[in-house]
């Protein structure tokens, strides 16, 4: 009888074209997704080397990193100085090469990782790469997906393959069921707090357990999105009924008999009983509370009711020094409660937490309320379809009446590309990184779930949502 295999083992071995020496393989890449910030470099390098794309039907380009989120935006509007030329360059190259191109005004447009699941570009057992570290997001539909550099992207364009080292495997079992008001964002932040921002180096991570099985594909996307924040390049949930129900009928999903054939194969992919992982981690979700970061790494996180830790309690001298540097930057003191820390900005957006379920969770808190005067509150939906669906439900009205700005979809202010509006301010944000300067010069970012961000916007300080 065949040795029990993990989901990852099966997908990886299905894609090996040839072994390369003792530690690497040449791996078939099913989907390459490019955007105008880094994908444009790969396309230019390919052209300069006089090479041709090998399989342009498997290549997608999306305008999302640099394009403005301003309502009424034009085709090259960007807060980045070089944004207009990079957007236009990507547009011209995509048309020249005949890639599957999703322009700024395409009704399917949005953040690449949101679009990739919405359109069925990613699918169970696929290998998908993109010049963005949050590419693992699409592991939500059982894809093995990871971020690459522009040179690797050029390699994929030219060969539809990539030289990769085989990672070790990790399974994180999120056991039990979440309490109301606790979300996938809280699960992943708690995991990163437990194993550290370096806890996943060299691993591909399967998220499993009853709490994961109960999550929608959107919640799973939030989990997989942040696997890179503990340095696991790959994060995924093996496909199940929820995955297949989500993908059925999507634009690039197989149809009819082809769907039946694919679904049969996809159902063979989940990890076999008895398969061995190099590392297993268990998290009890029943006791989990909403999480908020206090520092400048996602590992610097605590329960929302918790106190900011004394650096001396960190696990080693390096972490203690880093905690002190983080507190200095964040202008916080050990022993302070996070609850009540005044905020200047509430931001709901990004590939982490700006899907329809995220906006609904925030809207449930904001309905009939006003944000505290003086707070800047911004919502940037994860994709244009998410925005349209939210508008059809009246969610945009709830946000706007509460005092939020309602934007067009793109990566927006998750990263600072030129707009200084959050400079020197404290934000609470549904994004994925609280690095120094990530959202602007001296901007102090606290990461949290959409519900916590919405509640904090109303209170004007970090607050736990009151649930009726």
């Amino acid at each position: 009888m065949q040795q029990p295999q993990t989901f990852f083992d099966k997908v990886w071995s299905d894609h090996v074209i040839k072994t390369m020496g003792t530690d690497s393989v040449l791996l078939q890449i099913d989907r390459l997704v490019l955007h105008e910030l880094s994908g444009s470099q790969a396309v230019r390098a390919l052209a300069e080397a006089n090479r041709m794309p090998m399989s342009r039907g498997q290549v997608f380009t999306v305008i999302e990193h640099l394009i403005s989120t301003r309502p009424g935006r034009g085709p090259i509007d960007s807060v980045s100085v070089s944004g207009p030329s990079m957007i236009e360059g990507t547009r011209v190259a995509s048309k020249k090469w005949g890639f599957n191109f999703i322009d700024y005004n395409d009704p399917r447009q949005g953040i690449a990782h949101v679009v990739s699941t919405e359109l069925g570009i990613a699918f169970p057992g696929s290998t998908l790469v993109c010049c963005d570290s949050h590419t693992s997001t699409v592991g939500a539909v059982g894809a093995v997906a990871w971020g690459i550099g522009a040179t690797e992207a050029e390699h994929v364009l030219a060969t539809q393959a990539l030289v990769q080292m085989r990672p070790k495997t990790m399974r994180v079992n999120f056991n039990g069921q979440l309490k109301p008001g606790v979300y996938a964002k809280d699960m992943i932040l708690a995991l990163i707090g437990k194993i550290g921002a370096n806890g996943g180096i060299g691993y591909a991570t399967e998220f499993a357990g009853s709490a994961v099985r109960s999550l929608s594909v959107e919640g799973r996307a939030t989990l997989c999105n942040m696997s890179i924040e503990f340095q696991s390049k790959y994060g995924f949930v093996a496909p199940d009924d929820i995955t297949l129900a989500y993908l059925n009928g999507r634009e690039f999903s197989p149809k009819g008999q082809a769907w039946d054939q694919a679904a049969k194969y996809w159902r063979s992919l989940p990890t076999d009983d008895g398969a061995k992982f190099d590392l297993e981690i268990d998290i009890d979700c029943s006791a989990l509370e909403p999480q908020v970061t206090w520092g400048t790494s996602p590992e610097q996180v605590t329960s929302i009711d918790g106190l900011i830790p004394d650096p001396s309690t960190q696990k080693d001298s390096e972490a203690r020094l880093e905690a002190q540097r983080a507190l200095d930057y964040m202008q916080l003191k050990p022993g302070m409660s996070l609850l009540g820390v005044p905020i200047d900005v509430a931001y709901i957006g990004s590939c982490t937490n700006a899907r329809l379920s995220d906006l609904r969770a925030a809207a449930a808190i904001l309905k009939g309320k006003k944000i505290k005067p003086g707070i800047q509150a911004v919502c940037v939906p994860g994709s244009t379809p998410v925005k349209r669906a939210a508008e059809a439900e009246g969610i945009d009205r709830i946000f706007i009446e509460a005092g939020f700005e309602w934007h067009e979809s793109a990566c927006g202010m998750c990263g600072h590309i030129g707009d200084n509006r959050f400079a020197n301010l404290r934000t609470i944000s549904t994004t994925n990184r609280n690095f120094k300067g990530r959202q602007g010069p001296q901007t102090r970012t606290h990461l949290a779930s959409p519900e916590t961000v919405a509640a904090s916007a109303i209170a004007g300080c970090i607050t736990r949502a009151q649930r009726s």
Binding site: G57, Q58, S82, M86, S126, T159, V163, P167, K233, E318
Partner: protein, 212 residues
């Protein structure tokens, strides 16, 4: 790939954990599709004061570290964003190797494609190198030899390191990775012929014609 056999030179200790690629080069400076032009913005938020002048407290602004060829750092160096301008900026500055206990995985791969060797050594060995460097006020040369897979100091201190052999060979020979893969074209084609029968849904025909 730019060939790398061995490098000797000044080593700059930057002993912090989790130095992310947003610090190595902030997103503000990622503009443009040029292959070069990023070295001036290496560690921009640490290297320069808000008025644009060099920050005298930052190590790469201090002699002899301003001529560093090697960087010494703590665990999880290069975590975060996949931006390849991070190793590009380091290379343009003159750095050829980073020695740290561990590296962000995407950054690690990007280093090899930009003429930089990421050397993983246990933290106590990194600290021994830092000590020797600081004792010499930064003047001793640290050698990273990819041929022998050794980091060595003039006083005889020497540590073995390991890197993925496939990438090591590509760097030692300065191989063009795309040319190498294209030399396996028959194997790629044969894989795809088999695979399209097994997983037809993975293959999409182009939806638009290329304008002539």
């Amino acid at each position: 790939m730019e060939q790398f056999i061995s490098v000797s030179g000044i080593a700059a200790p930057m002993m912090q954990i989790n130095i992310d690629t947003d610090q190595i080069i902030p997103a503000l400076y990622l503009g443009g599709t040029d292959a070069k032009g990023y070295g001036a913005h290496l560690f921009a938020n640490w290297r320069f004061l808000p008025d644009g002048s060099p920050n005298p407290d930052f190590i790469l602004n201090q002699a002899p570290y301003s001529d560093a060829r090697v960087l010494l750092a703590d665990r999880n160096f290069g975590c975060g964003s996949s931006r390849e301008r991070a190793p590009k900026a380091m290379r343009e500055f003159g750095l050829r190797a980073v020695i740290a206990p561990s590296f962000g995985g995407i950054f690690f791969n990007n280093c090899f494609r930009n003429g930089i060797v990421p050397v993983a050594l246990p933290i106590d060995q990194v600290k021994q190198i830092v000590q020797a460097v600081e004792d010499s006020k930064g003047l001793i040369g640290v050698t990273v030899d990819l041929q022998t897979k050794k980091v060595s100091l003039p006083d005889g201190l020497s540590f073995d390191f390991d890197v993925p052999e496939t990438l090591r060979q590509m760097l030692l020979l300065g191989i063009d990775e795309i040319d190498q893969t294209l030399s396996y074209r028959e194997e790629i084609d044969s894989y795809r012929e088999q695979d399209i029968k097994r997983r037809p849904w993975a293959y999409l025909a182009p939806t638009v014609d290329i304008p002539s």
